[in-house]
Structures are given as C-alpha cells and as structure tokens.
Symmetry: C2
Subunit: 196 residues, 2 copies
C-alpha cells in the first residue's frame, strides 16, 4: 500500500489527537483493547471519554499550543494514505511518530520517540517501520547519536521488533529504572524550593 510520511502541520493536531487516543487505549487497557477500540471508533467526539476516569490524553488544542510554538515541546511525523485507501471511517492520516530532543552528558544529542502508532487496519504495510526510520533520519540530520524510547514489558511484539532492528534493552542490560514525580510529590518538591 502506498503511503507518505511527512512532518505534521498544526492542522493535523485533531487527527493526531485521535491517534493518541487509540494508542492510549491500546497501552492502558490491553485486555479491553478490542471493545475499547470499538467504543472509540464509534464515538463522534474522540474526546478522551473512556470507562477509566483517570484516562486523559492530549487534546488538539494542547497539541497545537505545545508543539507549534517557539521552542516546541515535541515534533511529530504523520503517515498518510491516498484518498482511495482511506480507513473505514474516512481517515487518511493513519499513523504518527511523536518525538523530541534529549541530551546525554556522556554521548551528546539524542532523539526520543515518545509515541509510535499505526491504526490496526493499516498494519503490515511497513508504515510503523517507515515512521521509526524517518525519526532516525531526522535525528541523524540533527547529529543525534542515540534514538531512545520506552516500551512496556508485556508488549512483546514491540520489544521483539526493536530488538530485531538492533536496539538494546537498557533496563535488562544495564539496570536502568524510570522514576517519576507527579501530583502531590511534584508539588511538594517545588514548594520546598521556595525555602532554599
């Protein structure tokens, strides 16, 4: 199937938001993905409404604000198919790769792939691989020496795919753990800063 990968424009944010929602449903509720996906696809709003009240993903307005400003927080590529191959629901933007630049004080510039997603009915056409390779190409052009990403341990298809392409699992090989402060714990830290 023919497809095109191109940098996202501000006008794509509504479509990207829809795809973020689909990916979130897949990652957040692996056992319910089928039904959740149907709920999603037949929802008219794509407004992050799911059975899980904790569930939130970036809306189109947030994406426009954070990705299309001076010093953007992220950048994005989208995969597009021609009109004649549009999805059942009429979509032509069928996948995305959202990334940003990070920095290693040991190695220098890095690119981090936050999200990589292709709609289920378009998988098996090389679109996911295409998006990954294009992000690598963008990174190399910016003189990045690493492309990093995070993956869930139960997501064997993705882990195998990355391993087959030569990636290292740093959690397994070197013992790196991801640590997060948010909500009250983040507020507490920030409030203590005022006393210093």
């Amino acid at each position: 199937m023919h497809f095109k990968i191109r940098p996202a424009k501000k006008e794509d944010c509504k479509e990207i938001s829809r795809l973020i929602m689909e990916l979130a449903v897949y990652e957040k509720m692996p056992d319910q993905v089928k039904i959740a996906h149907e709920v999603l696809v037949f929802s008219m709003s794509y407004n992050c409404l799911t059975p899980d009240p904790q569930f939130h993903c970036s809306t189109s307005v947030e994406l426009e604000r954070d990705g299309f400003c001076e010093n953007p927080f992220f950048q994005c590529l989208v995969a597009e198919v021609p009109e004649e191959h549009k999805s059942k629901e009429g979509f032509t933007v069928v996948g995305y790769a959202l990334y940003f630049y990070t920095y290693s004080t040991w190695k220098g510039r890095s690119i981090f792939l936050e999200d990589l997603y292709v709609m289920p009915e378009f998988r098996g056409n090389g679109i996911g691989k295409g998006l990954l390779c294009k992000v690598a190409e963008v990174g190399k052009k910016k003189e990045c020496v690493r492309l990093q990403l995070s993956v869930l341990d139960w997501n064997t298809p993705s882990r195998d795919f990355y391993a087959a392409k030569g990636a290292q699992d740093l959690t397994v090989s070197e013992g790196w753990h991801a640590i997060r402060f948010d909500g009250q714990s983040l507020d507490n830290l920030a409030n203590e800063a005022a006393k210093i």
Copy 2:
C-alpha cells in the same frame, strides 16, 4: 553550609564538564570509583581520560554549543559555595542538575532530570535535595505535570531518596523498559529511511 543555586551560564561549561566527568566515573565504574576519582582530581586536563577507552563525556565546547544556542538541547542549574568554603582543589561550583523538557501525550509537559550530582565532600548539606527541588520549581513554572529521571538498579541510596520524596518507580510498578538505538543500529534505520 551556605550555598546558592542558580541557572548555569555559558562560562560555567568548563566546571559543568568537570562535574559530569565525576558523575560518569561514579556511575560507570562503581567498584573503581575511589581510584578513578583520584585519577580525575589529580588530572590537569579533565579531558575525559580514564582507563576505559569507551569512556567519553561532554566537553565544555559541546556543552556550550548544545546548551547555549537557540532551542537548546538542555538547561542546567549549578550549586555554588562561597569562596571560603571552596573545595580542596579550589572549586566553588560543587554540584549541578542538568535537565530538558519532554512531552507525554497522555499528560502534557514534563521535565526530565538527566544528571544530578554533588561533589562527595559537599554531600550531606542539602545541596542535592536543593537542586532537585529547584528543578521541580522550574518545571512547575513551565506548567510541567511530571518530573522524570532514570536511576540504576544498584544505586540504592538514590532510589531510596527518590522514593522517600514520593517518586514512583515506573519500571517496577508498570513495567516500563528503556530501549536504545545507537551506532550501527541507528545508522541502519536512518539509511532505510532514504528508501521510503
């Protein structure tokens, strides 16, 4: 002990490079840290020369280029003590926190703490905690909802410190693994992009 935390200036890059080197020695060679530290401290060049030929950390020139340009790849805070408390070797910049902004499509703006380091002889004075809190404050001002970082599994003092401050270990609680492409595997991906 009195100390001040302030944003790094371009002129601080030589000092930051020295501290990066110390942290790298600590993380890379835990069993050899004492001797490696002495090698480092008595080296006149601080030029990333260690017994490990794989060992490289960002030089002052790289830091100036990548951190003090338009759209910088990172930002940095330094901890400074007054002249009368300078280190044995005469240093007053005794710690640093290097960070950058990332993005979660579920939650929005995040801040990532890449390095946090305080020289051993200045530990126990709240400087590390001060740097962490100041980064949290910087993040909150930018409307970040998360502060994230990575830690090695053998680094129990740091893991305990973050846990005591309310951080979640996402590798333990949710199963997130860190994946990396670099060297040949990154080149291979980028080269494949040209064929798409």
